[in-house]
Symmetry: C2
Subunit: 642 residues, 2 copies
Amino acid sequence: MTEVVTEKKLSDSATVDAASIKPFPGSKKIFVQGSQADILVPMREISLADTAMELGAEKNPPVRVYDTSGPYTDENIVIDLRKGLAEMRRNWIDARLDTEYLNEKSSLFANQRARDEALDRLRFNHKRKIRRALAGKNVTQMHYAKQGIITPEMEYIAIRENMSLQQARAQGVLEQQHQGMDFGANIPDEITPEFVRSEVARGRAIIPANINHPELEPMIIGRNFLVKVNGNIGNSALGSSIEEEVEKLTWGTRWGADTIMDLSTGKNIHETREWIIRNSHVPIGTVPIYQALEKVNGVAEDLSWEIFRDTLIEQAEQGVDYFTIHAGVLLRYVPLTAKRVTGIVSRGGSIMAKWCLAHHKENFLYTHFEDICEIMKAYDVSFSLGDGLRPGSVADANDAAQFGELETLGELTKIAWKHDIQTMIEGPGHVPMHLIKENMDKQLRECGEAPFYTLGPLTTDIAPGYDHITSGIGAAMIAWYGCAMLCYVTPKEHLGLPNKDDVKVGIITYKIAAHAADLAKGHPGSQLRDNALSKARFEFRWEDQFNLGLDSDTARSFHDETLPKESAKVAHFCSMCGPKFCSMKITQEVREYAANLGADLSAELGEALGEESVVRMVDVEAEMATKAAEFRAQGTKLYSKV
Amino acid sequence: MTEVVTEKKLSDSATVDAASIKPFPGSKKIFVQGSQADILVPMREISLADTAMELGAEKNPPVRVYDTSGPYTDENIVIDLRKGLAEMRRNWIDARLDTEYLNEKSSLFANQRARDEALDRLRFNHKRKIRRALAGKNVTQMHYAKQGIITPEMEYIAIRENMSLQQARAQGVLEQQHQGMDFGANIPDEITPEFVRSEVARGRAIIPANINHPELEPMIIGRNFLVKVNGNIGNSALGSSIEEEVEKLTWGTRWGADTIMDLSTGKNIHETREWIIRNSHVPIGTVPIYQALEKVNGVAEDLSWEIFRDTLIEQAEQGVDYFTIHAGVLLRYVPLTAKRVTGIVSRGGSIMAKWCLAHHKENFLYTHFEDICEIMKAYDVSFSLGDGLRPGSVADANDAAQFGELETLGELTKIAWKHDIQTMIEGPGHVPMHLIKENMDKQLRECGEAPFYTLGPLTTDIAPGYDHITSGIGAAMIAWYGCAMLCYVTPKEHLGLPNKDDVKVGIITYKIAAHAADLAKGHPGSQLRDNALSKARFEFRWEDQFNLGLDSDTARSFHDETLPKESAKVAHFCSMCGPKFCSMKITQEVREYAANLGADLSAELGEALGEESVVRMVDVEAEMATKAAEFRAQGTKLYSKV
């Protein structure tokens, strides 16, 4: 008797990861509406406790932070991965009247996959109609921007980017921030929809938003906006499954990824991608040459323009928002890598180098570049011009191969802009600190200020296992100098495929780098979160301190390792120093003491110190006198009961 | 019937932590001898496998790295914590004929503790005689240096610091390093004992080496030497024991701590410290005001110069190598902290501020500064002039309180140098990236280039749980700008007392920051380790890659998570991309291919590309022709069997 085994369909079991949808403590999702009812921009609002009575009893306004976690943390939405997310942008795209729905997919490969019944159990089953530009129409955000049109996407983005500045102004604390140093960026006092439009029109920013990805929450990548972070997911021949990859998406965006790249090189790349895009509220990037290589069974010499072209269309019709294209790996640059310590470390770059040498021909991505543009503009896919010749070791940094390619990418940017294709430029790699600025300055010059999107850079090679840190240093610096988006690096870099924990650590590290850069650039309102957290710390509002942090779970659990009881959350000390030695506790005693001295202060100290010091003291004295009066009015009890 | 309970003595159970003494894989400890038989400088030598036949079959010379792990990783030494380490420097100190042995301790408190039988079970029992300078003698390294004397300590240090440069020269690779950018430092081509002497004489470097700490392996802190890292240990009222603290010492130095500060604020500070120093091969720093505060039961107002003086002597006679002294917290600066977001975050700073206000008097550490100098010079204890008013939040960075104190520290440095006391200056704190350089430049100006020793700085406040990273960014930058030593920060910063894992992660993060700075400064030979590791990576010598890293255990285990078999250690791929997509594997194929083209290359490509490109190709062609010949001679098989 033969057994009939019914294979379980993936779509029967697709549940969203519980950890990814857990609400953030102390927070709620709010929406700010724009000029139309369907422009609703999500933000996270963190509520704070009042300052304790004995410390001044003030109300602490809630803090709004940029929110990349999407519908997954919206308590009003029930997530069903099998259905995908709501098509938020559908009406906006419809209203532009420049696209049509296709009755079938345009890609040969996509049609083959669709007919293969063996793949049924892996398939995302929800039927979706594919869009494409009407003949002769260009549907990129850059095209609209150049025509003076402010799209709903642009308005959405302006609200999103302007959030911190608005709160700071509303709270009257806009000036309570260090003036930054931004090396000639043009960060305005207010991010308006018109400013967004002008940045996109001139190519200094991009809005990755394929017309076939209506589910996404629009975001912008550009030097004059908040620094963004990309997280990578994707299986390989040696690991991972579709469920695991979707989980990494929801997990990565929970912690702050602004875009996600699906770098799968293993099985069922097409089906995996469909699940990811349909459930992604952030832009998705890919490297199409990987799938093209799979189609020729890993034999790089068998790649061709035709196969690649079909792959571009297949992926564009699924909704990929940006493509990494290694069109700058020119035949003449390949020998320049011969003396390198680590040769060509980019997967795409090494694949194209192999093809070039095998065929004795120029890179087909370069020779067919304008053909690629024709495809991109029909769907609004953005370019991420790949740095196939980036340095993979400190020794190779800033060499002729790397810079030669960068010059070619500059040349290609001009061509892309001729077609109104939104374009960003990928960057290194491994670069010691003192050579980082040269990279940024050269890229600005060569590429007409198109956004720069770097992988780190790693500032030393000697710490495998810690490359999120070696690269976090370089990433913070290059973002300060002008880099628009940072591609994260996890602790597993150079060693293996990252798991969920690695993804989180990588994202948090890169959010740190991005925010440190926003502060250094003086991005208006960026210091508000730091100030709120430090104030909470100083006032021993432990829960507020945790909740305002990038990772409240970890902060809370670290604290609880040595002081787990709830009573410790109002304690005016922690286990680092204990109650006698806590400097913050003592500082508050100092202030109380100084306030109580009041008007006597200057007289007594005048004798001790001499006239000059007294002058400085008097300025503060008035404030202290007021505080002293307040304290006396409330009683002088200093601490809450533990 | 009464039970007689014999309390177990700590000294009966004191075993060294096994994990700390495990040999480093692929490594052995070597010693380089100086001009006398007892100048034996330890280094770690990492052996590397030969490059595989098919990749060129070359021998890879062993790599020597600076070794802070001390006798703990010397297979020829049996560690007995109860006996302490060998007194390596004893003869050197004897030979100077300027010290005498005391018959009893000079400190009242120390004598009290010694007589207290209840402490017997905690005491380090090994009898040791205390040294002090003969009357009228000054025994500091700076004093000797100013007299033109090169001490054995200076020679030892020169050998230690010169190691990388020597190997690079020996291997003929000294020029294979990016020229650095060092902002006006004076890093010489060769570190000679005379150079060490001159840096110490002018105060630009210090050699912390108390005459009562003969067990230490001398090291130097200065801008023109390798950037150093300090790790903190120490109990608090809420945690840890003597065994745990000694374990943190051996563990922290295993991973790279150049000095250790014992910041205990809990029980039995005196006894804990004795165990630590007797077993420490690295300089030990303390903050004497902590213990002084314990002696007055945590009531800062009850502190006095007399109690503090006795504490200094007590600790100097135990062998503490440097004291953090908050002599710059002047009464007139305290009100300047009134409007800060986080007030005074330094424990010592807040204690002194409280004392000043309570007594309406100037800080006694300031008023008695020259008395402190008299004590320091009798034992060669170095100053670490404390930054009691450092900023504890981004908002407070670079404010008047912080810079006022820095100016006073500059004034005090001059006084210290009058007494030939070796002096370094402590620094911040929390500083956004764009304000970091100002700190470094001001410190160089105000303090006559005395070494700077910062805590980070943290570049943003928003990531409790990850402050080793927020500060690792700032630390790397300020070290590049000229900071000489970095005080580490662990993931537990702001949240609680760090455990062993936190100590390791903090140390590794700061070794990364220090080395990234050495590279950026162009420290001669510093790139050798990066180059060796990257070469091993490129050639798939996995074990070599792990062993050359700062943490080979973690690198190896991360790799093994997805590819655990031994066969994977010769695999030409890892689980990140798998065999088809591995860029390094493909690059090697590219090189093989290019080499096999040989002389045909220029002819064929000339047609495809035109004359100009061919000119570039020809340069490389000769090399490729040679390689092609080599490959053919060896057979053209590319990969080892997996």
